[in-house]
């Protein structure tokens, strides 16, 4: 009976509170426009591949303090829109098929940034390390898709496409 209960019991979940998201929108010969967030939360349901990732926008750290201030106040308006959220499903997710090598999966869902929700698809890689699941993804976003206005005066210094790199070490929770 106990065995039966455990096998049909709570869904198996993996999560982290210390995931990382880095982005870069640098243009050659100008000051690097790059930041990293290392307190990203994520939860993956390994029964069905449902994935949710949450980044509190104020957690993005830049090398240059003034850039960080402008990012929060002028571009992301993090007081008004404090969260960036990725939600959806890893298609054909099969926990047993994931091994120490990287396996590619398709993710399909939504991405919310700056209060704008967009349908979003990308490829991501999953692998196992000991008891943990490692998830990585790299994709490009356009600020204008999320109503983020780049003033003309700095437009030349910020790339049109922002490359985003996601790394999550998910532990059983």
């Amino acid at each position: 009976m106990l065995l039966l209960c455990s096998s049909i019991g709570m869904a198996q979940k993996f999560g982290t509170k210390a995931g990382s998201i880095a982005f870069e929108a640098s243009v050659p010969s100008f000051e690097p426009v790059a930041a990293k967030h290392s307190s990203v939360s994520a939860v993956l349901n390994s029964d069905n591949g449902q994935l949710a990732v949450l980044a509190l926008v104020t957690g993005f750290r830049f090398d240059i303090a003034l850039m960080e201030e402008h990012f929060n106040e002028n571009y992301m308006e993090s007081e008004v829109y404090p969260k960036a959220v990725l939600k959806g499903e890893i298609k054909d997710f099969d926990f047993k098929a994931i091994n120490a090598g990287k396996t590619a999966f398709q993710f399909s869902g939504s991405l919310e940034i700056h209060g704008v929700v967009q349908a979003f698809e990308t490829e991501l890689q999953l692998s196992k390390a000991d008891q943990d699941l490692l998830l990585s993804a790299r994709f490009a976003l356009k600020p204008e898709d999320f109503n983020i206005e780049i003033p003309k005066i700095v437009a030349k210094k910020i790339a049109d496409e922002v490359w985003v790199d996601v790394q999550l070490q998910l532990k059983s929770i």
Partner: protein, 123 residues
Amino acid sequence: MKRKSWIIVALVLVVVAVLGYNYLYQDHRDIQQETAVFKGTASELKTLLTGSEDTLSNTTVELRGYVTALELDGLVLSNSVYCKLDSIPEVSLQENLIIKGRVLGYDSLFELVSMDQCKIIND
């Protein structure tokens, strides 16, 4: 006379350059040197951030609580606040701590307040 005015122009340019440089490359906030906007328990902070209006995000706070979970690079205080620490200290579960750090906001996935740049400041 002409030479004197050139020196003044050069000095003004140097001052402008130095001020401009200091403005562009100003230092990051030093959370540990800032005065805490809120002092209280971890669970009080959680109640405040789940309330109607969040006015504490991106501010410095000082929290009292006890360790309810130890993680890779942080700890959970009183089942209410996740504090990311620069280094993992030798603390044990249930230990009472005072922590100073910056509030990032409310993490609805884990139902915890999230904080970074935290430091244990127990006497």
